[in-house]
């Protein structure tokens, strides 16, 4: 398990770095993206919506990566089925869902491609929800085991 955790932590660092680079290149990326046709918003409104929503999504991504990193640290220390991990997974689920909602808004107003990102994010949130429920049940069972004499 420790190797898997290390690989995942490394992946988190890589994703955070990619997110950081995308943030730095924000305006340039938006200039590239606005070349594709928009749906509802046009012109400067569309440009600023994509830029600001993009930064909001980046913030959600950084928060999600941070929550995952904290969760992995706990797992690495052997704290698996504990209430804090259930709370972390609930936070991750909300952050992914928020990113999905933001992507949905962008997809409807500015860039159709973001609808695909929204679908993936919302599906990921559902998967994390199931994992969180399984952890909750495991914590309940662990609790019962701890208080079995």
């Amino acid at each position: 398990m420790k190797n898997n955790i290390r690989i995942t932590k490394a992946a988190i660092w890589v994703l955070a770095a990619v997110c950081g680079v995308l943030c730095l290149l924000g305006p340039k990326l938006v200039n590239y993206v606005v070349q594709r046709p928009g749906i509802v918003f046009q012109g400067a409104l569309r440009w600023w919506t994509i830029l600001l929503a993009g930064y909001a999504l980046a913030l959600a991504a950084f928060l999600c990566l941070h929550s995952l990193y904290v969760l992995l640290n706990r797992l690495e220390r052997g704290k698996v089925f504990v209430r804090e991990n259930v709370r972390s997974l609930r936070t991750v689920e909300k952050e992914i869902a928020l990113a999905g909602a933001g992507s949905l808004f962008l997809g409807i107003t500015c860039l159709l491609l973001m609808l695909a990102v929204a679908a993936v994010a919302l599906f990921a949130a559902l998967v994390v929800r199931v994992v969180r429920s399984a952890f909750e049940e495991a914590v309940r069972m662990q609790d019962e085991l701890d208080y079995t004499v």
Binding site: D143, E144, Y147, T148, V149
Partner: protein, 70 residues
């Protein structure tokens, strides 16, 4: 709820918590969990060991008390 009357039986038999824990191979912490009604389950092996050392029946240690409504 199931009430554990272990402290009552221990007092009748004049046996302390530390001594009983050692006799039944249970940690003092776990015995305290049982005595203070914080246990969620008890193994039959533990119940058997308690009845053996305290020379009593399970019903002397465990008592069913109906939950108060409202």
């Amino acid at each position: 709820m199931i009430r554990v009357n272990l402290d009552v039986v221990m007092a009748k038999k004049h046996i302390g918590a530390k001594e009983l824990a050692e006799r039944i191979d249970l940690t003092p912490a776990n015995l305290s969990i049982l005595k203070n009604n914080r246990a969620k389950a008890i193994r039959f092996t533990t119940l058997e060991a308690l009845c053996r050392e305290l020379d009593c029946q399970p019903g002397d240690i465990l008592e069913y008390v109906p939950e108060e409504e409202g």
